[in-house]
């Protein structure tokens, strides 16, 4: 039954939001076309994502499958630190999405998990988005248990790819992966003062020239 989790989440989304999937598509098109213009403030990627996230916020495996509630854990309170097993799943997903190579940084070299934990601990970040990141981890684990009879961390690379491509088929899954990728890019390319991109490793790899002056630790987001 839990195989359907991502699809069910998607259906729920479609019921709640008129044309939910279409809007996500439209956002993507706009983004590619606008190519990140800053002269004009084009719609950012998050268009309608919060609507989506708000609908997702209350969704847990238990909520989707009340009959199976006994077997499903409730969504964790959003400000609590992620339990170790979920940390391990997130780290494994990040590493799969952004693998390490000799001389080229991957998720572990850019401190991607620590960076994501900072995001999840930021009181100013959207609670819905934080809950969505956490819940997605649970949904993935449920799906893997159902399909493969184990944990995501126990899968080989091909199986991980298969599972992630599987969840990508739903808009909930696609959004979850797109969100993790966004924070991977932040960990790769934000100023090292935020905890990712140690010593500018991401900038060096992509030959990116940061601007100056660079922010001191007491003048960063959250402290200004």
């Amino acid at each position: 039954m839990n195989v359907l989790i991502w699809i069910q989440v998607d259906t729920l989304c479609l019921i709640c939001i008129t044309g939910g999937v279409m809007r996500v598509e439209r956002v993507r098109t706009a983004l590619i076309e606008a190519d990140g213009g800053f002269f004009r403030n084009w719609r950012k990627e998050l268009v309608s994502r919060r609507t989506f996230l708000a609908r997702m916020a209350g969704v847990s495996v238990a909520a989707l499958f009340p009959l199976a509630a006994g077997g499903a854990s409730p969504a964790p309170k959003s400000n609590a630190a992620l339990p170790d097993d979920q940390q391990a799943v997130l780290a494994a997903v990040q590493q799969h999405l952004f693998p390490s190579e000799p001389g080229i940084p991957g998720a572990s070299e850019i401190n991607a998990l620590a960076y994501l934990n900072n995001v999840l601990a930021d009181p100013k970040m959207d609670e819905e988005e934080k809950a969505f990141i956490r819940n997605g981890t649970e949904w993935l684990e449920e799906l893997v248990r159902e399909e493969q009879g184990g944990a995501f961390t126990g899968l080989n690379a091909a199986q991980r790819e298969q599972m992630l491509r599987r969840i990508e088929q739903s808009s909930a899954g696609e959004n979850w992966l797109a969100t993790l990728l966004l924070y991977l890019f932040e960990a790769l390319l934000s100023d090292p003062v935020y905890g990712g991109n140690p010593d500018g490793i991401g900038w060096r790899w992509l030959e990116h020239q940061p601007g100056f002056p660079r922010p001191p630790a007491n003048k960063i987001y959250g402290k200004l």
């Binding site: 309608s48 100023d191 960063i220």
Partner: protein, 584 residues
């Protein structure tokens, strides 16, 4: 009755700064209420997270949002709050407003922009009118902005060069990227006139500010050198230095209170703790950016203004306009260039500074009669790294990750640069583009938020496509690959005007030619709200110039200058502390 100040200005951006400076220099006491915090140059860093990925210079959408009404495709309108959509409509809510984060592309409007109706005739479905003033009325103030705010550039002859009272800019152009020369060459070949773009950026230290440091990160960022001519750096610092101007940060105007005669008698505002305060003045100026100005007036009902201040003819919020148009890109791969050109292309820091106005009036068969066109701006792809990386995750059929994503990033970042263009054309005012009070959604203070209907006129798209096609042909002439563009009726929320348009007929305008409300004798509006049509250039220079013009009318009305003005050379050499801003 005690009056606290001569003038109370609500909003500290392009509309508020010139009024505060002019009145303070004339010896009148001024208070400026600014909703946001007071950042200084010591708070601005090239930090993509703080600048552009989180809300630092704008409110949290959870606390304060807008409701946007879009066509639903079935003849109706569907509304969604910006908190739900994530489409942030705030621009620079801090001392200096959005001018802190502007790119400073400064163009004057052209004489025809002041008389769109009589120059080009009516267009069905568009509420076109001529302005009640003409270019000659504003020219002295465009000139003043060049000197006081600091505009750098170089005048070249071209078919649509507007008349000037001085031969050239007071400051030479900022340093230019080598690709500017490539644009010039291509345009010359095509018989076009590429023009150096005037910038509100100082190329060297002047006016008590430092010159540009060419970090390569300008638009969207606060300026850490003070070279950018923000209202904060260029105007409010000087206004405060006169000791006649007080800027109150974290002061969110709640409503203007008016008496039985219809006159404004005070402004109620919330301070940082949420307490309600009141301030009174002889004259009141609203300059909160077009959407918020309309919202504040609509919310400020009074005995003589039951439907909102200055709204007795139901005009407040109507005829909102944006900058119509679109944008495009062309790729220049290092591999496709000889060594010298590739090396030149890699240069980072200087500006492209090129625009085309050859089609400011379009004379093309498909338009029939001559038609109003617009401006094409060239610029490099913004250097923000996260913003450049993030779209790479989308492939033809879904997400890209793993090693393919990494190879894609390498190619995008290392192998090419991307020259972009932006098209600016008129957004025709229509009955389907306006601001009202949302009947349900409220901000954190419990007051109704602005609801914005953003319908557009199909003519705007026609003009946008025409100009984008011309811009694409320039990129192709330059040898760019993968040239593409996008024109849509989706408005840029940072280029907004109208809503309280000025005019001689109170039936169809909110303000008179002096930008004083027709039906409120001591109320002025000096942000972009006054504009009945927006021209085909970014608005900031025109907002600054008009606010200086209106400020002069206010000084006259109050009885002329009380003290000798600091203007001209004295101001240029004055040593001014740029860091009077205080974080409370």
């Amino acid at each position: 009755m005690n009056i606290d100040f001569d003038v109370c200005v609500i909003g500290s951006g392009a509309g508020g700064g010139p009024v505060a400076l002019t009145l303070a220099e004339a010896g009148y006491s001024v208070v400026v209420l600014e909703k946001g915090p007071w950042f200084t140059e010591q708070d601005f860093y090239k930090d993509e997270i703080a600048c552009c990925r989180r809300s630092t210079y704008t409110p949290s959408l959870r606390d304060e949002r807008h409701v946007i009404e879009e066509e639903d495709g079935e003849g109706g309108w569907e509304a969604e709050s910006t908190f739900d959509s994530g489409w942030d409509w705030w621009n620079g809510n801090c001392v200096g407003g959005a001018t802190n984060v502007m790119s400073g592309f400064f163009h004057r409007m052209k004489p025809d922009d002041f008389r769109l109706l009589s120059a080009f005739g009516p267009i069905a479905g568009a509420n076109l009118v001529d302005w009640p003033i003409n270019y000659e009325d504003l020219e002295p103030y465009y000139d003043k902005v060049e000197k006081v705010v600091g505009v750098s550039g170089r005048v070249v002859s071209h078919p649509y060069l507007e008349p000037r009272s001085t031969p050239d800019f007071p400051f030479p152009p900022t340093q230019e990227h080598p690709i500017a020369g490539w644009i010039d060459t291509a345009c010359k070949e095509m018989g076009l006139h590429s023009i150096p773009v005037p910038r509100a950026i100082l190329p060297r230290a002047a006016l008590g500010r430092r010159g540009c440091e060419y970090s390569g990160y300008c638009g969207s960022y606060g300026c850490s050198s003070g070279a950018k001519g923000s209202s904060r750096a260029a105007l409010l610092s000087r206004a405060v230095a006169t000791r006649h101007c007080e800027v109150r940060a974290h002061a969110k105007a709640n409503r203007l209170v008016s008496d039985k005669a219809g006159k404004v008698v005070g402004v109620e505002y919330f301070d940082q703790t949420g307490s309600t305060k009141t301030v009174s003045a002889r004259l009141y100026v609203v300059a909160c950016q077009a959407v918020e100005t309309a919202r504040l007036l609509l919310y400020s009902t009074g005995p003589r203004h039951p439907d909102g201040l200055a709204n007795n003819n139901d005009q407040v919020g109507r005829n909102l306009v944006f900058s119509a148009g679109g944008s495009g890109t062309g790729d220049f791969s290092y591999a496709g260039l000889d060594r010298h050109r590739a090396q030149a292309l890699r240069v980072r820091g200087p500006f492209v500074n090129r625009a085309l106005q050859d089609w400011y009036t379009i004379k093309a068969k498909e338009f029939g009669a001559p038609s109003k066109g617009g401006t094409i701006e060239f610029l490099m792809r913004h250097p923000n790294a996260i913003a450049r990386a993030n779209p790479r995750k989308w492939g033809e059929d879904g997400l890209v990750w793993g090693l393919p994503l990494k190879r894609k990033l390498e190619a995008y970042f290392r192998e090419a640069r991307y020259l972009r263009f932006e098209v600016f054309c008129d957004w025709l005012p229509t009955d389907n583009c306006f601001v009202s009070l949302d009947p349900e959604v409220q901000d954190k203070w419990g007051t109704p938020v602005a609801r914005v209907r953003i319908g557009y006129h199909s003519h705007d798209l026609k003009v946008g496509h025409y100009l984008a096609d011309q811009a694409e042909s320039v990129l192709r002439e330059m040898g760019a690959d993968n040239v593409r563009s996008s024109v849509s009726g989706s408005p840029p929320a940072n280029l907004v005007a109208g809503g309280c348009r000025f005019g001689n007929d109170p039936e169809v305008s909110v303000l008179n030619a002096d930008c004083r409300a027709h039906d409120v004798e001591n109320l002025y509006v000096t942000d972009a709200s006054f504009m009945p049509t927006g021209g085909s250039v970014p608005y900031t220079w025109t907002i600054y110039a008009n606010a200086f013009r209106v400020a002069d009318r206010m000084v006259e009305r109050l009885g002329g200058p009380r003290v000798a003005s600091l203007g001209g050379k004295a101001a240029d050499s004055a040593v001014i502390d740029l860091n009077q801003g205080s974080k409370e």
